[in-house]
Symmetry: C2
Subunit: 247 residues, 2 copies
């Protein structure tokens, strides 16, 4: 009896289609070495598929990179938005605490990086690199995360009445810097603290980030409100003009 055997194409995992296998491998390797540090050959070999499939499925290496970045962003943002709306509703008729807002912003990310599996871990390490790259951040971060960030900042402003928008934006920048460095999990804090802290211990980060950042926001607003002179803008402008010689 002749057994017809189909050629084995999905070599290792057996179930996942090639397109996803490529995305998974690319995610892991881009996260570690960056866009230019990895070749499409590295990726397709790790995925167990042919080189040509990158062009076939995505069009090219660059499009693959953005596809990797986009895939999980689309899953995350609705959840984060829902969590933001939830803390808003729970606080009605008042406004949520800064801690709750920051938590809604960070918890879905930290939770998935901690317990979502290696794909999520890689993804956030990739986000960390992208966020700190003058080449990639302006296109990828802005495009995939800023619409959500604007909503968070609007709620932050409600929770910080009397605080100027500038303080809130700067406070947000410090928050996202602290958060993304955490995602990078470089192990630097491990050696620095002689093992007392572990960069993989995202539960410890989760406990601490919201209080830290909330206190930071409050300090920024307090500083701005106390430093600001009780004069209208026109009067301050006149004074500035007088002292302009010193510059």
């Amino acid at each position: 009896m002749v057994v017809v055997r189909r050629k084995i194409t999905r070599k290792r995992t057996g179930t996942k289609p090639g397109k996803e296998r490529i995305l998974d491998a690319a995610e892991r390797l881009f996260a570690r070495h960056g866009f230019y540090g990895i070749s499409v050959r590295d990726i397709t070999e790790a995925a167990g598929v042919d080189v040509a499939l990158v062009s076939y499925h995505f069009g090219g290496k660059r499009e693959l990179f953005t596809a990797v970045f986009q895939r999980r962003a689309e899953l995350l943002n609705p959840e984060r938005l829902a969590m933001l709306e939830e803390v808003r509703r729970a606080a009605l008729p008042g406004v949520p605490t800064l801690e709750d807002i920051v938590n809604a912003f960070t918890y879905p990310l930290l939770e998935r990086s901690a317990r979502g599996g290696p794909g999520w871990k890689s993804y956030f390490a990739l986000v960390a690199q992208v966020n700190n790259s003058p080449e990639w951040a302006p296109v990828l971060m802005t495009q995939h995360f800023d619409p959500l960030v604007e909503k968070f900042i609007a709620v932050l402003r409600e929770a910080l009445p009397g605080c100027s928008a500038r303080e809130v934006y700067w406070g947000y920048q410090f928050l996202t810097g602290a958060l993304t460095l955490t995602f990078a999990e470089t192990g630097r804090i491990d050696t620095l603290s002689s093992g007392l802290c572990k960069s993989s211990d995202l539960d410890s980060v989760h406990e601490r980030l919201a209080p830290y950042v909330a206190a930071g926001f409050r300090a920024l607003c307090a500083r701005a409100n106390s430093a600001e002179p009780a004069l209208p803008k026109s009067a301050r402008a006149a004074i500035s003009a007088k002292s302009a010689k010193r510059r």
Copy 2:
């Protein structure tokens, strides 16, 4: 009369030797595109020198990269250490404020990035990328900055009596994340704030970072001290054992 004309080798700047020209160009290009995003040809062309000189002066591309990283670290760290000692002396017989310590840590960096010229600006953008890279941070950041960081953390601990070391390390991690994202100057906050904040406005960062971070440190310590049960470790261990089934 025959004029003997030397071949023009130092093409544009005229004065700097080739080795430094290579370092300057490499710094600028690595900062923007990362180690793998730039070829030695890109670098030597930008420097106006020959490709072969990278091997001659540095040994290879990788050694050039570390040389770029090391060059300014060696200039910065003594100055930062001196500033740390100065704020300590000024506070005697007490201890300096958190704000002053954080300022000693960040000011020499922000000041040079703001007004040290384009070389310094590029350098700090490079540091931002390296600090967030799982591939590079463990070797470059640890090697060139951690000895100094340990000294700062020791003084931070003096300024935070009764605060556990873990809180201080985590607080430092958030600080360095916020600081290095600032150095990246990706322009993201510019678009996010519709121009209200500019990522190149490091004076605004300088005013805000120390208050933000100092308040964050205090919040971490307050949280740890209030959350920590007033029981010896042995008693807590016994309790943990009892509730272990829930896990």
